[in-house]
Symmetry: C2
Subunit: 333 residues, 2 copies
DNA sequence: GTGAAAGCGCTAACAA
DNA sequence: TTGTTAGCGCTTTCAC
């Protein structure tokens, strides 16, 4: 193990000079800087992370609590995580991966000073972890939006606006009977924050627009086919659909796009653009900018770490993409 | 921040006693232990991770390099990661998440002493990161199996045996013309270790059994439907299929199970059991025990950390599950 | 522009 | 069975 002392000796300077060359917190003569940097390179020195964090009282690590189990929108979770890791690394931070469904894990990491900040995913409308986070002195940020206003900053995709956007788009297309086919029963039951908000946005906008609207749960399995058939049978006037169930999408996409029993349907899928692109028969879609969300959340928490102020809630606005746009951008790339 | 010194003062003992109470490396009288533990609880003390790792020269952190981008078997990756995190936590280790496609990230984490060991996923047959790992003094383990025997231990699912198993099962069912419909072109082209091995196992076993066999790439998108049709058109005698493409499975499952143009097909899907369970029309499947794989890999690297010996290659054996078994276990749970 | 030295909060000899 | 203390490798005052 190469230590800072060896680098200092090799460069013929003091330890503190080496430290200041690395941190840039002091002006150093060009000549000295060169010698030190040469020594660092020659010896392949990298500072010991723990020693550094013990002395500086910061770890340059962000704790990320992500839902890892298959079931809920795996692609979305993966992309958010990828965005978080990428943006963190771009700012000299690393990511400590914490298991979900575990409030204790959050305080453990924080109290052991393993992390400088916490990023928490998979938020429920009334999430028990929020109380834990509020007791901690560690900066924290939610990727999600719980029901109550609270002391923890939030960053998320604006699912409520997405619901409204879809409803008005369907109205614009002339539909009077619309349906949101969404998350599986379990997710709805847990009041996962995004499902609640999407439902609300869709239903309120539909009501304002005078549409006959309903929300329907849907399994993320092959059984989605039968489920969708049942929904359409039960509501024979429905011709406009907002579909938000990434797992079920592949099963039902072909069926929906070709219409059912001669009934022509317009389907708006709410999913990441690259998922939508794997389903060419889709008509419209609303992108869930998952990676961008991870990036935004990370930027926000980095702001907190710099002591800068932050809007308490930051929502990424939805954008409608018609299939022709998607095809165009796909062929362009 | 509560320090060990405050705990010591509160309990009326020296700081080393507190340390030894926590580590159990010294016998402590029951009375003293009680007082110390009480003080720890009262003050909500948790030891400072960096201070501890600086003094003890170990971090209790394992670096995990995982492929985070959507594209390759998202469910499988997630479950492996979940298994790793779970098993690591059960043994007092945390997981530092490193971005993939980045050999430099591995040595950075190792040389900064951020991790005690490295776990590397998404291995290609001839992976450039192996050379990097061999230069490091940090224990490392691959989840995957590169072509050449090398100094780094490997744990993986036995894809080659799975290929053989599928071929012989199809032979047993009476098929003489079989096909492996597998990963997308890009994955094959990269020589991802698992794809290479699956192909080899399937083809060699088929040859031994006198089957007419072929391997076909398949996109993980809706286009898989057309791709599969093309494959079946091109090889009109094929009636037995090993299907290994989780992304495409939902698109083609129904079609394959119902037979095509009156041709009856037997399809064995190679995918995690919980994915297979979401596709009720599947006949046979071979489980990819992804979470178990993560657990095994983590156990193996923990052994390395304890200085115990390890078999250089450890492969989880495939098991065939018929659809009736799967249905039975699903209804039992 | 540079150096000396006092910690940061622990662990693990060494001593009793 | 317990206490004292010398580090672990760095950052950052304080001094020049």
């Amino acid at each position: 193990m190469v230590t800072i002392a060896e680098v200092a000796r090799a460069a013929g300077v003091s330890i503190s000079t080496v430290s200041y060359v690395m941190s840039g917190k002091r002006t150093i003569s060009q000549e000295t800087r060169d010698r030190v940097e040469q020594a660092i390179a020659d010896l392949k020195y990298s500072p010991h992370a723990s020693a550094r964090s013990l002395a500086s009282r910061s770890t340059n690590v962000i704790g990320l609590q992500a839902p890892l189990r298959a079931g809920v929108d795996v692609h979305v979770v993966m992309e958010i995580v990828a965005g978080v890791v990428r943006e963190a690394r771009a700012n000299q931070y690393d990511i400590l991966l914490l298991t979900s469904d575990d409030a204790a894990g959050l305080s453990r990491a924080a109290r052991a000073s393993m992390v400088d900040a916490l990023l928490v995913m998979d938020i429920e409308s009334d999430d028990p972890r929020i109380a834990t986070l509020e007791e901690l002195e560690t900066p924290a940020l939610l990727i999600g939006l719980p029901a109550g206003a609270d002391g923890i900053a939030c960053v998320d995709f604006d699912f409520e606006a997405a619901g409204r956007l879809a409803a008005s788009r369907l109205a614009e297309l002339g539909h009077t009977h619309v349906a949101l086919i969404g998350a599986p029963e379990e997710v709805m039951a847990r009041h996962t924050s995004y499902a609640d908000r999407l439902n609300r946005g869709f239903l309120t906008a539909a009501e304002e627009l005078g549409l006959d609207a309903g929300v329907h749960a849907c399994p993320s399995s092959q059984e989605s086919v039968a489920a969708v058939d049942a929904i359409l049978a039960e509501r024979p006037d429905v011709t406009g659909i907002l579909f938000h169930n990434e797992g079920a999408l592949p099963y039902v996409a072909g069926r929906l796009s070709s219409g059912i029993d001669g009934r022509e349907l317009d389907v708006i899928a709410l999913c990441p653009a690259n998922v939508a692109r794997t389903v060419p028969t889709l008509t419209d879609s609303i992108d869930v900018p998952a990676e961008e969300l991870g990036v935004s959340a990370t930027r926000a928490i980095l702001q907190l770490l710099e002591g800068r102020d932050l809007p308490p809630v930051q929502l990424l606005a939805p954008r409608l993409e018609s299939a022709s746009d998607a095809a165009a951008s796909a062929s362009a790339s």
